[in-house]
Symmetry: C2
């Protein structure tokens, strides 16, 4: 395909994309296909000679679309939002064309420098403490990671390296293995898959800090755990605090394959922020404990973080000043298409030192000066795309007020759904509605709610996934799509009520 | 921005992309900017109210482009190729529009299933042993990772989990820490950053297997290392074999910031495949040793792998049948835009079990059946894009013959450059030219070649990076761009010769 054909096909694709997104409401949100549906529709080997573009675009409708779960349908209320906006898509086109690999400053200076500045922009939108910003001479700074899981892992590895070096300085004979055997990481929720994974990969123990009766994390519980473990000869070094969003607070442990579809059960281990979605004000309590004990504090607000650009939600982040690293995902709720996970650290040398065995390296590096950033030392992979273009396009084409309006609209829609649920005495709200998620259920046994969910997802008009809250099987209604409006929410609710009435009617028979 | 404006702006962007790539030859391949150039050109905070699209697109030319290293310029011969093609860009537009997160089968069945089938297509193009393919009932299969580094890390973690479980089965009292302390991973090249990092992250010892005088890896050297380590009470469990491509065979250890630009020194530790780029036929020797000793064999052909779709290069992969996992990057040399790193395993349960503490999990999973694939268990992050669309578009719009022709053209161009260098008695070729890389230098001291490189990169007409081979400072001429032609190679050579003449003239004065 030459440039001329790309001009033609590219414009056709722009129209296809616009048609798809404008018409997405009319598509069935969850597909009808069975596992293994696709293979018989596609030849077993690649063609020897080229197919035509018409062949492919026809096959997109025939083969791909019937198997797509339409995450951007206004009837998609499952999992969590994943960002999609036209400005981000335009930026991605440019990113693909430039196609540079920004592993070092020299490999494409604009790629590195725009990222640093965009992370400062975003940090200022969130009113992050100045220490997290790169600025002109700061020791901190931001980096785009692929996912919150990667950010957690990178933070844990940086903390592991830092504590190991510190101990080896005072006890030169100490081996890395001897240190690692004693390291303990803590999480506010043991079941969170990203922290569990990071601990597993990093080869360190991971312990949950028990929450109190109200599922809040208390400084006393953390202090107690630290004292107990230190007395047992262990070395506390890392504490991950997660803003919970049921699904994110959960491990996708098992699924049930029913006749027509698959859905997930999310196991929530009782912990802060799960009952009251995203409400979380314990950083101010546990932060000083971490600080005093020299424990690295990592704060992960993967979903909730976007809301903190609104002054009325910013208080939820109070205490972040005690953190060593902070992360959230603009690719969830800030209109920047996946992937764009924003991570900040107070000391960039903690990250850049994490992947090097030889501490001498750091002394030779110019990185301390803040003059040159080589992002390959901030992340797991070597290569990286020019992802900051997406942030630049989105922030400029929406403006801060536009982004705030977007967040507020979603929050307002979730409250609208909450209001509707509360009008119906057969239903109950299971968790305080703070941001864009409503956890609700039919009063009564779990089996009734399982049956309701099965009816909902079998009908295919809307898509939901469940979670468990305190042994209750709960339906999650997440405001996801960029184009979801009050009308969709009300239609969804009428649909759910109708299915509930059928179900309760059938129960009586 | 609504759909109508996206239709208009999207089409403008298609033209911008086509204009950029058609006119890229006229742009200076390496930028003139100094570190820190960008920040003063951009406001310190995001705008409160939206900017216009015209503002942004103007700023792309004013602010971004002056700082871009143009990886797709036909005068870019640095680092390694990174793929770029129009079909991949079209697929990426579609990927952005669908915008699904394919962490599980149900989260978007088409996203998962197309990936499985495309990895089979690609595996068949490479004539991979059937055991690596998913097929309808295979135990193996492929997955798209973000980078070769991630693939290496995932393989190492899978191997670590596998050996730990095996040992814990026979010695139930054994702790994970006790096992990890004794684990040893081996690499054919100790300095390779991705293996070094994987070992560091995984908390295991990493040792280099010494190569013989011809930089070839012998089974005897591996067997000797294994015997010695086992006798010392250690547990060999993982061996990473890397197809070397200087840069990939190297750690970007240090850089020098000169007045006008930054370049890298690549430290190559003598090992197989470095002198004779990508030539490597030792898998047949070391494979059986790994097999006999129960050591996981991971083969990484990040750059070279693409060439194996040509029958005349396929013999370089002989012995892959002994590997447990194999990886290469279509995003380097197979026209699939970054990121797309292709990884196969013979037993998918080895991967899916690697990130789970609880082996019982596997028993509950349907994954063994091959019916349902949940790719989140195959990788480090949770989220993932619909990257297989790029493979599908590229493979179909080029056809296998088109892809083979593309590889062959690059190999032919590198031989053409080699031929030109060999005509000039002032120069020497430093390594056998097998695929798309020529390592060459001026005869004489390293300082002369450093000076030559500085002249080349200061002139900004072409872009090269150096490497070290056997203590020699060597210039790397990598065939990179999709649009590079014989004329560009010849112009580059005349340019280099001219600068060499100036340099040698100045030396005489």
């Amino acid at each position: 395909m030459n440039a001329d054909e790309f001009r033609r096909r590219g414009k056709e694709m722009v129209d296809y994309v616009a048609d798809y997104l404008e018409g997405i409401e009319a598509r069935q949100v969850y597909p009808d296909v069975e596992p293994g549906y696709l293979r018989p529709l596609i030849p077993p080997t690649a063609p020897q000679e080229p197919d035509t573009f018409e062949d492919i675009i026809n096959d997109v409708e025939k083969i791909i679309m019937p198997g797509v779960t339409h995450w951007h349908s206004p009837y998609f209320f499952a999992y969590f939002p994943t960002a999609s906006s036209y400005p981000a898509m335009l930026a991605d086109m440019l990113c693909g064309a430039i196609g540079c690999i920004g592993f070092s400053w020299a490999a494409s200076p604009a790629c590195t420098e725009l990222e640093t500045v965009m992370m400062d922009w975003l940090g200022r939108m969130l009113q992050l403490p100045e220490a997290f910003l790169a600025g002109e001479a700061g020791e901190g700074g931001g980096v785009i990671q692929g996912s919150a899981s990667e950010a957690t892992l990178v933070a844990l590895l940086a903390a592991r390296t830092k504590v190991t070096r510190r101990l080896q300085t005072t006890s030169p004979g100490l081996t890395q293995a001897a240190v690692m055997e004693k390291l303990v990481a803590y999480a506010s929720d043991q079941a969170h898959s990203s922290v569990e994974r990071a601990g597993l990969i990093g080869g360190v123990k991971l312990k949950a800090i028990p929450s109190d009766g109200k599922f809040a994390l208390r400084a006393s519980a953390l202090q107690e755990a630290l004292e107990r473990d230190k007395a047992a000869g262990l070395i506390p070094f890392f504490f991950a605090v997660l803003y919970q969003f049921p699904v994110h607070s959960t491990v996708l442990r098992s699924y049930k394959y029913t006749q027509k579809f698959i859905f997930f059960f999310f196991t929530v281990v009782a912990t802060l922020g799960t009952t009251s979605c995203c409400s979380f004000d314990n950083l101010l309590e546990v932060g000083p404990v971490c600080h005093k004990e020299g424990v690295w504090l990592h704060v992960d607000a993967a979903y909730a973080g976007s809301a903190f650009i609104c002054p009325e939600f910013r208080h939820l982040l109070d205490g972040v000043e005690f953190a060593d690293s902070f992360n959230f995902n603009p690719h969830k709720w800030l209109l920047v298409n996946f992937d764009c996970s924003a991570m900040w650290v107070k000391k960039r040398t903690d990250l850049t030192g994490a992947f090097k065995l030889d501490p001498v390296y750091l002394k030779h590096s110019h990185q301390d000066s803040g003059l040159i950033t080589d992002y390959r030392h901030w992340q797991l992979p070597l290569g990286r795309r020019f992802r900051s273009l997406k942030m630049w396009f989105v922030f400029r084409l929406y403006g801060v007020t536009g982004l705030q309006a977007y967040i507020r609209k979603h929050v307002q829609l979730s409250h609208e759904f909450e209001f509707l649920v509360r009008q119906d005495p057969r239903f109950e709200i299971c968790a305080e509605v703070t941001l864009g998620l409503v956890c609700f259920r039919l009063k009564g046994p779990n089996s009734r709610n399982e049956a309701l969910l099965e009816r909902i997802n079998s009908a295919r008009k809307i898509h939901l996934v469940p979670c468990h809250l305190r042994d209750q099987f709960v339906l999650r209604f997440a405001i996801c799509s960029r184009t979801v409006e009050s009308a969709h929410v009300r239609l969804a609710w009428e649909h759910i009520r109708g299915l509930a009435a059928e179900l309760l009617g059938a129960e009586k028979e």
